[in-house]
């Protein structure tokens, strides 16, 4: 029997225009581990209705901190896809 690939569940959060595109503010996404933020973004864009209009390389955060797409994710992490920031 082949060893099972471990998988993790990532809480993905959407904001502003991206939340409108997918019609929701969050989703639980299962990804094979090890995985990066970029893997999570690809999974979301491929699987979630409306998400293909989110850019391939959006701003992202993991557990409330800005990260690059090559940052790794772990089971239980919160990944946020952030539209261009426009505060102030």
């Amino acid at each position: 029997m082949a060893p099972q690939t471990p998988s993790g569940t990532i809480r993905v959060r959407f904001f502003a225009r991206y939340a409108e595109l997918v019609g929701r503010t969050e989703a639980a996404v299962a990804v094979p581990l090890p995985a990066t933020v970029g893997d999570v973004v690809r999974h979301v864009r491929d699987q979630l209705p409306g998400a293909h209009d989110i850019p391939e390389r959006p701003l992202t955060a993991v557990n409330l901190r800005h990260v690059k797409l090559d940052a790794s994710v772990r089971d239980g992490d919160e990944v946020a896809l952030l539209p261009p920031i426009a505060g102030g």
Binding site: F15, A16, A61, P83, G87
Partner: protein, 146 residues
Amino acid sequence: MTYLTRSLIPLDVLLAETSAAECGGTCAFLGTVRDGPEEHGVTAIEYSAYEEMVEGELGRIVAEVGERWAGARVAVRHRLGRIPAGEASIAIVTAAPHRAQAFEACRYVIEEVKRRVPVWKKELRADGTEVWVDPSGRPTTRPAHV
């Protein structure tokens, strides 16, 4: 400490928070909702945020000010929700021993907010359309009637 509010920003409270006898210069910055000639009749902006991350990121920016300008004090509030044109969406008050430090610290805070703090704005226009705008105020979507 929360840096977010859904009410009018009380500038007097921010001034009181930063007041100190050893600070000889205080700088206050207000960012207000603009309806200029290029804004297509903006009546208000709806501000939304990744609120938990805003608190963390603003806390880090405030800490950085303390590291960069010795003795500097900072108070910041960002308002969320629907803000009418002319009202403040952000207020920053910095106080420091000398005025140059207060000006520099205040400029640092607003520039870092623009760069790092996850807040978004949707313009609400007089013709009934709404549009998400990017950091420079340019639309990121076509105006949509609601």
